[in-house]
Every structure is written in structure tokens, then in C-alpha cells.
Symmetry: C2
DNA sequence: AATGAAATCGACCAGCA
DNA sequence: TGCTGGTCGATTTCATT
């Protein structure tokens, strides 16, 4: 319904998206100056990109450290291989408070879970809750010493080959 | 300078943050109605939270699928254990276009890298670029079949214990 | 820390290339 | 379809409590 890998953009769209992806708190004036486009045109394009689902939402980026969430762990979760379970286990894992992201992978280990909490006791609680999920077999966790979040910014992070595939010539 | 794990919030702050974290595209009217607070007060609190660095930025959430970025991989990277290198290797890995996130962990494997691209050839390019980084020893990649992003939303995702530590009684 | 009034900015409409 | 210009309503700012 919203998927569109073949949705084409022009250079202006890409530039606009790059701007608002890193900071939506700029005024239309600023954008129209940077892009050499009228305010109305910028507004028009933004609305189109929202309607198309390219811009999913506008959100406040909160600093986890401001909440004391400075402990991150990666947990590898293997499950008992009974068909159909995997789908629900994934959402169950994601439903655990403190779990940030769940990757379902091919390989020996079935899930990789990223969780972020304040201290060890909370981390223990998270892991215990994961183990308690029906179908979860074994878990193995590693603490994250440091993380480099290069890019939640999709546009800035596009490989060159990807970028050229998107812009109409 | 901006870190503050002991910065305290009240219930109103938490509620406000929960709202704007999931959607900043709401009007002040809506917020002030939901929170039973005057528009100006909402605005005042938002500014305070921005200045305090709790709200790091306001950004447009783009859908990677709209750019054809539907291939995700987790790559475990082990490095030659020479002191000091690790820091720069992390940022080098994060600098590779297509790499979304880098976790530096304790354990046999030193880094876990999340990358997102359009197709296999781009994935190959990403991995080759990682291998070429000075100090990188070995890599092992797994494709992600599915991902459940439960919470980039920090507030919604707080463990109960974490929440009670933040709100002043 | 919260309020209300004044200046500023963004959203929408009708028309045009 | 993509853009322009102008109007109205909303938001930001500031002086005041």
C-alpha cells in the first residue's frame, strides 16, 4: 500500500529530504533560501512526500542519556524450531520494555535483540523476561561499550550506487 | 556538558515527551488540551527540554523502503588487538555509506555493524569496504529476514523501574 | 513558572505555466 | 502536475505577574 521502491525523486526532493531528515525545526524561509525555491513550493513538496509515505512522521529525538539509559546490550536469542512460532516470538521480544530493536536473522542464532536500560538489575529483568517467552530456547548477551550511530539519516547514508538509482536522469 | 542522568522530570514532562516523541506534527492546541495546560506553558516546557538537551532535535522519519533499502545485514567484525586502534576503527566502520549503526562490544567479536542497502551488489561493496579498513581482521555477516522496531521511542519503552527513577515523588 | 498580547511564521486557496 | 502570491490562522516571542 505504501511500499514503493520504484518511486522516483528529483535532485530537489533528495536535497529537501536531506535537510528535514537532520532537522525539521528550520523555517520554510530557510529551506526555500537553501533550495532556491519558493516557500509554497517547499510546502507543496513536503506534503507530497508525507502523503507518499516517504516522510513517515516528524518526531522529537530524545537523548537516552538524559534518562540515564546508558547501558546497552546485544542479546542473541535462539528458539525451538517449531513452525509459525518465530513470527510471534519476534513481536513478543519487541514487546519487552527496554528492548529497542529486534532482528530476525538466518543462521544458528535466530534473533538479535538490542536493549537499552539504566543498570544491571534492569538488564537482568529484561533478559529474564525474554527467556520466559514461550519458544525461547537460549540467550547469550554482550554489553556494548560504545556505539557509533552514523546514520539514522537515510539520505546521508545512501551508497553512491543507491543514490543514482533513485534520481531520475 | 549536556549529560544529565540525574535530571529529574515531573509527570507532565514525561507525558509531553511521550507525545512529541511519537509525533511532533501536532499543534500546540492539541497538546495543551491533552495535557490540560495552557499553550504557552507547553511551549515553555518544550523549550526548556530542548535547551537541556533532552530533546536533541526534531527530525523527519523517512521510510527506508521508499528508497528501496530493503536489505539489512548484521556483520560481526573482529579486529587485530592493537591498542588505540579500536576507537578509530569504530568511526571508520560508521563512515562507510550504507552502515547504519556500529556497536563496540566486549567479547570475541569486537564490533557488530548494522547496514542497510538496496541489493546484494551494494552489500558486497559495503562489506569489502569494511574489510579494507586498517586493523579489521575478519568479518561474518548474516542477513536480516525481518525486523521489529519496537522502540526508537525512548519514553514508551522505559522499563517500569526506570520510569519511577526519573519522576520526582 | 506561567500568562496574555503583539509580531512572526506556516497552511491553505485560487489561479497560472 | 508543479508552482506562485496573498490571506488567514496558528505559533513564537516578550513583558508582566
Amino acid at each position: 500500500m505504501s511500499n514503493s521502491s520504484d518511486g522516483r525523486f528529483d535532485e530537489m526532493d533528495i536535497e529537501l529530504l536531506r535537510c528535514v531528515e537532520s532537522d525539521f525545526d528550520v523555517s520554510l524561509d530557510t529551506l526555500s533560501q537553501q533550495l532556491d525555491l519558493s516557500k509554497s513550493a517547499v510546502h507543496y513538496r513536503l506534503n507530497k512526500l508525507k502523503d507518499a509515505g516517504v516522510i513517515r512522521s516528524v518526531t522529537a529525538d530524545l537523548d537516552p542519556l538524559a534518562f540515564g539509559l546508558d547501558m546497552v546490550a546485544l542479546t542473541e536469542v535462539s528458539v525451538t524450531h517449531e513452525q509459525g512460532y518465530s513470527d510471534t516470538i519476534g513481536t513478543d521480544l519487541a514487546g519487552v520494555k527496554g528492548v529497542e530493536q529486534v532482528y530476525y536473522t538466518m543462521g544458528d542464532v535466530d534473533f538479535v535483540v538490542v536493549s537499552r536500560v539504566q543498570d544491571r538489575s534492569q538488564m537482568n529483568a529484561v533478559i529474564e523476561e525474554m527467556v520466559a517467552i514461550d519458544g525461547v530456547n537460549e540467550t547469550s548477551s554482550r554489553f556494548v561499550m560504545d556505539e557509533v550511530t552514523s546514520g539514522t539519516d537515510v539520505v546521508d547514508n545512501l551508497p553512491d550506487a543507491a543514490r543514482s538509482k533513485l534520481v531520475e536522469e
